[in-house]
């Protein structure tokens, strides 16, 4: 990739997902696995032990190479030269002394130091014009790989010694990656992949550190140890900034903070439209750590607690006690406001601990969500018991995900009831009146909404999945991602159908998903009759402020016009024209406006 053609860009643009500006050193994470971790060595003793460990690995590597050469069969003996070259690279001062020097000077672990040396060497080679010699970098990488493997076979210093704060640069981060990471040492995240609801985004928001995702080429152009400015509000990353960049971004930061504190002042007040309608705004959360931010940003409880994290994090399935304590804590913290807990919404492929994990050709249409839970009853029981027990400590609601029809809902409810019976027998407390709702994210559930409404207390429309299932596109698939259109007239009609079904039965309809936090959509959703939004905590102040400047009567008129428009593009253009003056007046910056774009093609 780093072919040396043209110089690397200095500024990268991506999707801003967590606001703020930070300046720090890059920590590039290779692929999706965190094999090579950065460790800071505390003292002289550790440093010398690490140098010794590195020298041992070199020695072992040398022995392996010699053995390899000796065992070469006669016909290819002449190729033994390649191994001689490798041995020479192994002895080379750039690699050997260069790495030892880094371990000593920077007090870092051997793997990290070697990785840095390798990057330096790679940089030198990239500048070579001769393609043959440039290609020798492959030999260097082979040797380094071998050393890495030998280092891995030896005992590494204990983790958790990370004392330097870094900006994590990755292609993509999975929850498993971040669970291995000491996130408190992370100052910011930037990734090649990902969108507004990616794991990285949520993690960064929870930690209140800046993050930019979807940069596409970050791992290509950012080297370990590069100085970075991450502007998580504008979605910009500056690689190796100069003084004037730093000053410019520090000024921006001050501006952002002023604006934020202005909006935060009004975040605790309720969101009442210009014509007096009260809209409830709650928070979506994924980690217990986020609960603290809910009240701070003016969230009226939690509208969607995603419960997958504990299942991905722990080895094996989490215990009832572990889940109970987690849920109870969340419930107690936001009481008297409610916490809507969505039961496990994972595909079977994510749960290695579930026996007989399937190899599905089409996991999005496979055994996942409520289907998986109804199949793995023991696992489901554990979670429902934990949720019910937590309901004794505050206001809890249950949301069943991925409901596609009435039968599934009835099965889930029957199971829930049987578990209430279990708890009664055991004398364990729970709230017998706890409300039960479902996610509306499968198109068949939209069609059946009026029947489903008779059996639930509320609907929660999950637009992210609904859009994917309704338009038959995988938004992560780059070839069709442009088809992910929240403003598609079909989606608007579906939302209307669900709201009408809810109204008939007196059930509430809330909407979670990216649309809920897109300022362009706010008026539209209010016009559709949505009275409850559940969004990322940090966007609550802005959306509340926006609601206060909208009148439902006008929103309904707009909706009437919008419903006449045949394409997503026209809908978006109409909304841009209507909402832009309001958005501009409120000074909502662009970090909130990139959410639901429709390609202009």
């Amino acid at each position: 990739m780093k072919s040396g053609e043209g110089s690397a860009p200095r500024i990268l643009k991506g999707i801003p997902v967590s606001s703020g500006v930070v300046i720090g050193k890059a920590h590039v994470v290779e692929t999706s696995q965190l094999k090579i971790v950065y460790q800071y060595l505390l003292d002289e003793k550790h440093v010398e032990m690490e140098v010794e460990r590195f020298m041992d690995a070199l020695h072992t590597t040398g022995e392996q190479l010699k053995k390899l050469k000796d065992s070469m069969p006669e016909p290819i003996k002449s190729h033994g030269f390649i191994i001689d070259t490798h041995l020479m690279i192994l002895q080379d001062s750039m690699l050997r002394e260069g790495t030892v020097e880094k371990i000593r000077k920077e007090q870092i672990n051997a793997e990290w130091a070697l990785k840095k040396s390798l990057r330096e060497i790679r940089r030198l080679f990239e500048e070579i014009d001769d393609p043959y010699i440039r290609g020798r970098i492959d030999d260097v990488e082979d040797v380094a790989d071998r050393i890495m493997r030998n280092l891995a076979g030896q005992e590494a210093p204990p983790l958790g010694d990370i004392t330097q704060r870094v900006i994590v640069v990755a292609h993509k981060l999975s929850p498993a990656d971040t669970s291995e990471m000491d996130v408190t040492k992370v100052m910011g995240f930037i990734t090649d992949m990902g969108g507004r609801t990616s794991h990285t985004a949520i993690m960064a928001q929870a930690l209140k550190i800046p993050a930019v995702v979807g940069l596409e080429t970050a791992t290509q152009f950012v080297e370990d140890g590069d100085l970075l400015i991450v502007d998580g509000t504008a979605g910009e990353v500056v690689i190796n900034p100069d003084d004037s960049d730093i000053i410019r971004f520090q000024e921006r930061q001050v501006l952002y903070q002023e604006k934020e504190s202005l909006i935060a002042k009004s975040s605790q007040a309720p969101a009442i439209t210009k014509d007096g309608y009260r809209i409830t705004v709650r928070a979506n959360i994924e980690f217990l750590e986020e609960v603290g931010t809910v009240k701070e940003y003016g969230g009226e409880g939690i509208g969607l607690y995603r419960t997958e994290f504990l299942y991905l994090k722990s080895r094996g399935l989490p215990s009832e006690e572990e889940l109970f304590l987690d849920y109870k804590e969340a419930v107690e913290q936001v009481a008297p406001d409610p916490v809507a807990i969505r039961t496990l919404d994972l595909g079977g492929e994510k749960l290695t601990s579930v026996p007989g994990s399937l190899n599905e050709a089409n996991p999005a249409l496979g055994l996942r969500g409520i289907r998986l839970c109804l199949k793995e009853r023991d696992m489901f029981r554990t979670q429902l018991r934990a949720i019910l027990r937590a309901s004794a400590f505050g206001k809890v609601r249950i949301i069943f995900p991925m409901i596609s029809g009435v039968q599934e809902l009835m099965d889930a409810k029957a199971f829930l009831k049987s578990i209430m019976g279990e708890l009664d027998e055991e004398g364990l407390g729970y709230d017998p009146y706890l409300e039960v709702g479902i996610m509306i994210e499968v198109p068949s559930a939209v069609t059946m909404a009026e029947v489903l409404a008779e059996h639930v207390d509320f609907f929660s429309i999950g637009t992210n999945d609904l859009i994917q299932y309704a338009l038959a596109i995988d938004r992560v698939n780059e070839h069709v991602a442009y088809m992910y259109q929240p403003f598609h007239p079909a989606i608007l009609r579906m939302i209307r159908t669900v709201v009408e079904a809810g109204d008939q039965c007196g059930g509430r309809v809330s909407l979670c998903g990216e649309m809920a936090s897109d300022p362009l959509c706010t008026g539209l959703l209010l016009g559709l009759g949505i009275t409850e939004l559940s969004i990322n905590a940090r966007t609550i102040p802005v959306i509340k402020e926006l609601i206060r400047s909208i009148s439902i009567e006008e929103a309904r008129k707009d909706l009437h016009e919008v419903m006449k428009l045949p394409t997503a593009r026209q809908v978006r253009e109409y909304l841009l024209e209507r909402m832009n003056p309001i958005i501009e007046k409120l000074g909502i910056n662009e970090s909130f406006l990139n959410t639901t774009q429709v390609p202009m093609g």
Partner: protein, 92 residues
């Protein structure tokens, strides 16, 4: 006897200073106690480091300034000269 010898040599083999040729220089440098440096334009590298030699990037016809210093520097330089003349053993 400690001393410094410098000489400018031309790389005359077809492949230039590629890995195999560089390896031979490194071998030679390791044989002697003296330090060996190669300079092209304003870049000087350690003659004992194959990677450094490669990054010097010398195609056929490049003139490099060689510097040997330390014990047996003279012998090292003589052998190196032969290696260059011999075109690093590369067949014609």
């Amino acid at each position: 006897m400690d001393s410094v010898y410098t000489k400018t040599l031309r790389i005359s083999n077809n492949l230039g200073l590629h890995a195999r040729a560089a390896a031979k220089i490194v071998d030679l440098a390791k044989k002697y106690e003296a330090k060996l440096y190669l300079r092209k334009d304003d870049q000087e590298v350690d003659g004992g480091s194959i990677l450094s030699l490669l990054t010097l990037c010398c195609p056929k016809g490049t003139e490099v300034e060689i510097r040997a210093e330390g014990p047996e520097a003279h012998e090292l330089m003589e052998e190196l000269e032969r290696l260059f003349e011999y075109r690093f053993g590369e067949e014609k």
